[in-house]
């Protein structure tokens, strides 16, 4: 089955099993490996991408449902919020193993795009689906606040 969609602004045609999760289509068919496999059941957030700007779990999003969709991945995410998030992540040395951080950054970018000045409660609500086994959460929280400050400046 062939599905045409936009990925990071480019029109792409995926010739894949409609039941294949977007995650594997991105990684194996398109060679975009920034989006990570963590659990396969939408319980960890490592595979987070944006669909029309909304954070979704690509491991539970099937290729067959994506005709005409606009998908953004860590390789293509940009704009004010994404830039502020990536800068803050670097300045605070947030990552340890780093494996979950593509997903964390996609979730944080979506949060800040929607809520430019999030409270701790907003951060908990938006980021609780993203597991970090290195437990870099304290720095993730600080970095989101720092990114919000950058966006305001």
């Amino acid at each position: 089955m062939s599905v045409t969609l936009k990925i990071n602004g480019e029109t792409r045609t995926l010739d894949a099993d409609p039941e294949s999760p977007l995650l594997w289509a991105l990684r194996d068919e398109l060679g975009m490996t920034g989006t990570k496999f963590g659990c396969g059941i939408a319980s960890c957030g490592a595979c987070t991408v944006h669909w029309d700007g909304m954070p979704i779990r690509s491991c539970q999003t099937m290729v067959g449902d994506l005709e005409g969709a606009e998908i953004t991945t860590i390789e293509g995410v940009n704009g004010k919020a994404a830039k502020a998030v990536q800068e803050a992540w670097n300045e605070l040395d947030v990552p340890q193993c780093g494996y979950c951080q593509s997903g964390q950054i996609m979730a944080a970018t979506a949060l800040l795009t929607d809520t430019p000045k999030p409270t701790d409660e907003d951060i908990d609500a938006a980021m609780d689906g993203n597991v970090c086994r290195c437990a870099t959460y304290a720095r993730i929280r600080k970095a989101i606040h720092a990114a919000a400050d950058k966006m305001e400046a």
Partner: protein
């Protein structure tokens, strides 16, 4: 068609002899540089300086090769900090790489083989990497002196720029080729601590940028080779089970499936990409032979362990006649503890890439003990050690999971590569991917354990004697590590943190007993300390409660012979305001523990939510890990170590029902989340002692500190982990 090996083979385990053979490379002191082999000579001619730990390239980048796997703990950056400081390179020009398997060059000087673990990276490499950086600098300076016709002593290096008062100056990169032809100094002069520019100050992580942009080829799961296949393996759902028979008819119909092979530990589905390999595996029909499998439930296994703690075991520590001392005590407190199996749950599930053309083999993965992996691959494939290459890739976490004594991932892929070759397939590279379920239900857990302690008190509330019985499966027994780590049959990994306590009890005896089960067990971040610290530190609080003493004061009294532990305890207590009143609804707890040579005290503040569940609000930690090489990374590791330990004690356990794993993914093995994460304040002691590790020592104190805070609030002692069992989560 299906290609079956005649008979499932037992994966070879490295024997004592191969282990000693592997160790041979390490004899003869620290390697800091090598005489010019041909490749290095060719590189020098091309203007490049190539030594085992440091490459200086004509483009003025300086590559520091980490002999240790970096799985997030910041080792590669920490070792680069040492080289950059002694070489006086700039932070900007440093690049990090992970060294391949080579026991001659890259052995861990504390293990004798190349390997990462036990928080040993910094302690074993601190002098070596400084010397490597200093040697490189001496060679650069010597080359510049000859080139410029000035005395070497007049040349300075700063921020990667080599200069002389005459106005001559060059970058490290410009001098690299010339420096490569200089003699390697045997004992290069090292800086004195007052001359350090990065050590003890700041050297931000050089691996962060790649990890914030989803850079390609960072982790094994991202690694690609021309023509690479992807495989999944159906392994026995019960530990120790083997394939009796299987039917792959339906699996083979999935588009993208290339072939299906039986290998010793299961059935491998080889496909053109990941999704068909996962989908087809679900369609395999396999009958398992469970005759040698673990078919018990963890409840039954715990009953056995508890029973073991009631009987004499192997003597780990024996100060005297403890039973008589207890009999003579005014009061005896008897407490039983139990701890569950824990999965490591690294974010990147296990994975490995390999290729084999019949004569040579190459592997790419986050190899934590490359020397064992290297030997196992060579043995299974039947080719010489020299014909095997292991390339180390960054790992998405490990927490001990990638440090397998049995090298099972490389063993599995080697059998698969061999089966593919025997079937006449073209030698294509293959990647084995573990799903989360494969990883979590695949064993190699922190062993479950039972502990029984008896504490005698005299009429004045002083401890008279401690009797400690522990039972668990040994991580070491039956592995290649047994000869080295269990010389007297005693497994100190199981009892570390208790048998070697520095609390000055008049008498302490400790016995251990080993459970036998096919469930594979492994080191889990801080190993024995994950349970012994919990027992020892909650025991101290119970003694304090029983005798009406302040928990910090009692510890200080018992730690009079341990100045460094005393120091971190006092520092954490002071910074947390231990003696100050708490806001309404807040409760404090404390724990202090030494592990892997480092001392960590943690004071926690907790509250209870309306539903009665516990919330850890704040943790104040004090750390003494010797010279703090990279203070920000020490803070990061303590923050992460606390989070990792906290998640486990709150709600993690792996249970078996009739031998089947019940928690197989993050929906049932619930990880700590951002909303659970306390505020953490880390204070580092300005020590001049030799540096010790920091990947693990932040973890042990958090569990008992939280348990002690709960007890302070509710007089309820949690002795059966995790806290979900007590309804507190």
């Amino acid at each position: 068609m299906l290609h079956l090996l005649q008979k499932p083979l037992e994966a070879p385990k490295p024997s004592r002899r191969t282990f000693l053979k592997m160790s041979a490379g390490a004899v003869g002191g620290l390697i800091i540089a090598a005489k010019m082999p041909n490749a290095a000579k060719a590189a020098a001619d091309a203007g490049e300086f190539v030594q085992p730990f440091v490459h200086i390239r004509p483009d003025n980048t300086v590559v520091v090769l980490s002999k240790h796997l970096d799985k997030g703990q910041g080792t590669a950056n920490g070792l680069a900090t040492l080289v950059a400081d002694e070489l006086d390179a700039s932070h900007e020009q440093i690049l990090l790489e992970l060294a391949p398997s080579n026991p001659q060059l890259y052995a861990n000087s504390l293990f004798g083989v190349q390997g990462t673990g036990g928080s040993t990276a910094m302690p074993n490499a601190f002098m070596q990497y400084r010397q490597a950086g200093a040697a490189a600098k001496a060679m650069v300076v010597s080359a510049a002196a000859k080139e410029w016709g000035v005395p070497a002593g007049e040349i300075t290096v700063s921020g990667g720029v080599v200069s002389h008062s005459s106005g001559k100056s060059a970058t490290l990169g410009e001098l690299a080729g010339l420096a490569a032809n200089e003699d390697v100094p045997a004992e290069p002069a090292l800086k004195t601590p007052d001359q350090w520019v990065y050590i003890g100050k700041s050297f931000p992580r050089k691996d962060v940028k790649n990890k914030t942009v989803g850079a390609p080829n960072t982790y094994t799961i991202d690694f690609n080779r021309e023509g690479m296949l992807t495989a999944t393996v159906a392994r026995s759902p019960r530990f120790g089970g083997t394939v009796k028979s299987f039917d792959a008819t339906e699996a083979k119909k999935v588009a993208g499936v290339v072939d299906i092979f039986q290998i010793p530990n299961g059935v491998a589905v080889v496909a053109e990409s990941t999704w068909p390999a996962i989908k087809a595996r679900d369609l395999l029909e396999i009958e398992w032979d469970d005759s040698a499998a673990e078919t018990r439930s963890t409840d039954a296994m715990m009953t056995e362990l508890k029973d073991m703690t009631t009987k004499p075991g192997l003597k780990v520590r024996e100060d005297g006649d403890v039973d008589a001392a207890l009999d003579a005590s005014a009061k005896v407190m008897e407490i039983d503890y139990d701890f569950p199996f824990l999965a490591h749950g690294a974010m990147e599930p296990l994975d490995i890439v390999g290729e084999f053309d019949g004569e040579t083999a190459q592997f790419w993965f986050g190899s934590q003990i490359p020397t064992i992996d290297h030997n196992v691959a060579s043995t299974i494939l039947g080719i010489p050690f020299e014909k095997v290459s292991i390339n180390t890739l960054w790992a998405g976490g490990s927490f001990g999971r990638r440090a397998q004594g049995d090298a099972h991932p490389v063993s599995e892929i080697s059998f698969l590569l061999k089966a593919m070759r025997e079937a006449g397939m073209d030698p294509r590279p293959v990647k084995i991917v573990w799903t989360r379920e494969d990883d979590m239900a695949g064993g190699y857990y922190r062993p479950m354990s039972a502990h029984k302690i008896k504490v005698g008190l005299d009429g004045d509330g002083n401890v008279t004697a401690v009797k400690y019985n522990i039972a668990a499966k040994s991580i070491i027994k039956g592995t290649a590590f047994e000869p080295m780590l269990m010389p007297n049959g005693v497994d100190h990994n199981m009892t570390e943190g208790a048998s070697d306590t520095t609390y000055s009890f008049p008498m302490m005896n400790m016995d251990q007993a080993f459970q036998e089960t096919p469930v594979p067990v492994l080191w889990w971040r801080s190993v024995g300390h994950t349970h012994t610290a919990y027992v020892m530190e909650t025991m101290i609080d119970r003694i304090a409660k029983e005798t009406g003493k302040d928990p910090v004061a009692l510890r200080l009294e018992l730690l009079k012979d341990d100045p460094r532990k005393t120091n971190v305890l006092k520092l954490a207590a002071e910074k947390a305001g231990w003696d100050t009143p708490l806001p309404e609804g807040r409760h404090r707890g404390v724990a202090v523990h030494k592990s892997f040579g480092s001392y960590v005290a943690e004071v926690v503040e907790i509250s209870f939510r309306e539903d009665g569940t516990v919330k850890v609000e704040k943790v104040t930690a004090a750390v003494d890990c010797g010279v703090p090489v990279n203070p920000d990374n020490i803070r990061a590791q303590v923050e992460g170590g606390i989070g990792y330990g906290l998640g486990a004690i709150l709600r993690n356990q792996v249970t078996l029902s009739d031998g089947y794993v019940e928690e197989t993914n993050f929906d049932t093995y619930e990880s700590l989340r951002i909303s659970d994460m306390p505020e953490i304040d880390v204070h580092i002691v300005a020590s001049t002692e030799a540096p010790t590790g920091i990947g693990e020592p932040g973890t042990p104190p958090i569990g008992p500190a939280v348990a002690n805070a709960i007890a302070a609030a509710k007089d309820e002692w949690i002795t059966s982990l995790p806290f979900t069992k007590a309804g507190l989560v």
